[in-house]
């Protein structure tokens, strides 16, 4: 880009547009699915009017159940949201996990939701399981954004690490092993890599760095929170 001493407003906006346009967007969802979702919403809205008379009693019941069961994850078709992550099932069979850098991970919820999305995963809290030798193909199964090695990733506070999974690329007999460790700083470290289901060992010591997988940290660090990440082979 040519840079001048004083750019006009339009030139600045064009440059901003170009930068934002460099972010690749997913293909739009099927319009039929969107319209079906809209029809459900319309029906729901209409039926909601008729149901108003019983809403008060229903609310009391729901509040009671929530107190017993705890807050439920917010779910939309293909999407699982919790306070600490969002997991989206893509139409091409991949799944995308976006981490909220300010929240501590719930290992049980993560394991349950990954498995529900067809990603063979074993999430352990306070330990990390690995195979020696590690199965090959981690980089075909997992993509990490922003790239942990990029200066952009290192500089960001509050960036949401995004991990894309391709379950179809996982070698037979393997799983993704996630180990979530509570650090003295109050943050969490998460390590993950591929393991052979038939041969792995677990350790309660947080790995120093990812030789064959990836690592990130989440949790409170101040007003903005932050996530740091690194990735091995």
């Amino acid at each position: 880009m040519n840079v001048h001493d004083e750019l006009s407003d339009n030139e600045v906006l064009r440059a901003a547009s170009k930068s934002l346009s460099a972010l690749p967007m997913a293909r739009p969802p099927d319009v039929g699915a969107i319209m079906a979702r809209g029809r459900r919403r319309r029906r729901h809205r209409l039926s909601g009017v008729a149901a108003l008379s019983v809403a008060a009693a229903g609310t009391a019941l729901v509040l009671g159940l929530t107190g017993v069961l705890g807050p439920a994850s917010a779910r939309a078709p293909g999407t699982i949201r919790t306070a600490s992550f969002t997991l989206v099932s893509n139409s091409n069979g991949t799944a995308t996990l976006t981490i909220n850098p300010n929240e501590l991970l719930d290992a049980a919820a993560l394991q349950n939701d990954l498995n529900q999305d067809g990603i063979p995963a074993m999430v352990t809290s306070g330990s990390f399981c690995s195979s020696d030798p590690a199965p090959t193909g981690f980089s075909q199964v997992v993509s990490f954004y922003p790239p942990p090695t990029s200066a952009f990733a290192q500089q960001q506070k509050g960036v949401h690490p995004t991990i894309a999974f391709s379950p179809a690329a996982m070698p037979a007999g393997t799983k993704l092993s996630f180990g979530v460790f509570q650090l003295d700083s109050g943050r969490q470290q998460a390590d993950f890599e591929l393991i052979n289901v038939s041969s792995y060992t677990c350790t309660s010591t947080p790995p120093q760095g990812p030789d064959n997988g990836a690592q990130f940290q989440v949790g409170p660090t101040g007003p903005a929170g932050s996530a740091t990440s690194s990735q091995g082979r």
């Binding site: 319209m35 989206v88 976006t98 960036v159």
Partner: protein, 165 residues
């Protein structure tokens, strides 16, 4: 297929990407934005007779998407994390000017970011932007001006030289 279905499908195909880019720029997360924009288009179809007559239907979708996101965070007892969050970066994005500019956009105050996103991706004038955001036109112009000034700093030769050192 009815005329309205065809009309909505055409609107959807033409508007999905600009609406999504605008929401990504504002909320700072591609995944959240995709879900919120999909929900907003579903709402648009549920109210299509009204939305099709709207003076700026794409702006209606973006506003609805942002409201959906805000509602979701309110339900969870959280504030929508606009100010302190940066957008998802892409592996295809280099670490140069684009990344710095992206970071600068995301560090703008939320209202400035909204005004700039609506201007860039929906090509709205400040009066229409003001109407969509429920603010005075003069206020929208002020947010736009301040936002542009902040972004200009990232584009000055001084900053580029420093970044290259």
């Amino acid at each position: 297929v009815s005329d309205q279905q065809t009309e909505f499908a055409d609107f959807f195909q033409a508007s999905w990407e600009p609406c999504l880019r605008a929401v990504v720029a504002i909320v700072g997360s591609l995944q959240l934005a995709e879900d919120q924009v999909a929900e907003a288009f579903a709402k648009a179809w549920a109210s299509w007779p009204k939305v099709r007559r709207h003076p700026a239907p794409r702006a209606w979708v973006v506003r609805t998407a942002l409201n959906a996101g805000a509602s979701w965070w309110r339900r969870r007892g959280r504030e929508l994390p606009l100010a302190d969050h940066d957008p998802m970066a892409s592996g295809d994005l280099d670490d140069g000017l684009d990344a710095r500019l992206l970071t600068a956009i995301c560090r703008l105050p939320p209202r400035q970011r909204e005004v700039i996103a609506l201007r860039i991706f929906l090509d709205l004038d400040t009066a229409t932007i003001a109407g969509q955001l429920g603010i005075e036109a003069g206020t929208a112009r002020m947010h736009l001006s301040r936002g542009v000034t902040a972004l200009r700093r990232e584009l000055t030769p001084t900053n580029n030289m420093e970044a290259g050192q």
